[in-house]
């Protein structure tokens, strides 16, 4: 499974993460019969109200070269910190509508012991350190720049 750790990944993708993509990722792990536990995090765009107007979508942009470097660093840190079989991260760019998924983090290990901690660690690192920005676009076309806050 060392190959899974070192092969280059592109995390950023155009548009939302589809549920079918998630199921294909799950299915592709059935051959890895040393895995006993998977944890998945999905970030879904909320229809929050901003000054009485519902958020219809978030439009994501990034500093892509730095973002991919940060994703790599975060991956390496997670592998160093936890005993994992493999991990995958996918993040949207462009328009993601309310109810759609913009972040997919997938962590697998032999035992369940550390998968939750590792997955939570990854999500917090991504929100704090990856240069991605999002416009929350409301029903009348106006928008607000989103800002992440620590948990």
């Amino acid at each position: 499974m060392n190959s899974a750790k070192t092969k280059p990944h592109t995390v950023l993708q155009q548009g939302p993460v589809s549920p079918d993509f998630v199921s294909a990722s799950i299915a592709s792990h059935s051959a890895k019969t040393g895995i006993g536990a998977h944890t998945i995090f999905l970030g879904q765009v909320r229809k929050d109200e901003i000054q009485g107007k519902p958020v219809e979508a978030i439009e994501y942009t990034a500093y892509p070269e730095m973002a991919e470097k940060e994703f790599s660093r975060i991956r390496e840190e997670a592998f160093a910190k936890y005993e994992l079989s493999c991990l995958h991260i996918h993040h949207s760019l462009g328009l993601v509508k309310a109810g759609e998924i913009s972040l997919f983090v997938f962590v697998s290990a032999k035992h369940r012991k550390q998968v939750f901690e590792a997955c939570s660690f990854l999500v917090e690192q991504i929100k704090a350190h990856v240069p991605i920005w999002g416009k929350e676009i409301t029903s009348d076309g106006s928008y607000t720049w989103k800002e992440n806050k620590p948990v």
């Binding site: 500093y63 470097k69 990856v130 991605i132 920005w133 989103k146 800002e147």
Partner: protein, 75 residues
């Protein structure tokens, strides 16, 4: 000296890439930007030098890639 701006900051500058006068260090660049774009004072901006977050004051070399970033919103 080429400087990149992203997201809400590119809206303030009106461009995602500006040619600014060379200024030697990241602290000086920070001052220069806030002088030129006082609206960024309330944005808690961060700098990146060659795609790494700047911590402290760092020297800028010819050909370095500089970026000015607003708080992140990934996830």
């Amino acid at each position: 000296m080429k400087v990149l701006f992203f997201g809400p900051l590119a809206e303030i500058t009106g461009s995602s890439q500006l040619e600014l006068e060379s200024c030697g260090t990241t602290d000086k660049l920070y001052e220069l930007i806030l002088r030129q774009y006082p609206e960024m004072k309330n944005k808690s901006i961060k700098l990146a030098l060659n795609q790494e977050l700047v911590a402290g004051n760092m020297n800028i070399q010819a050909g370095d890639e500089l970026a000015v970033m607003a708080p992140f919103a990934g996830g």
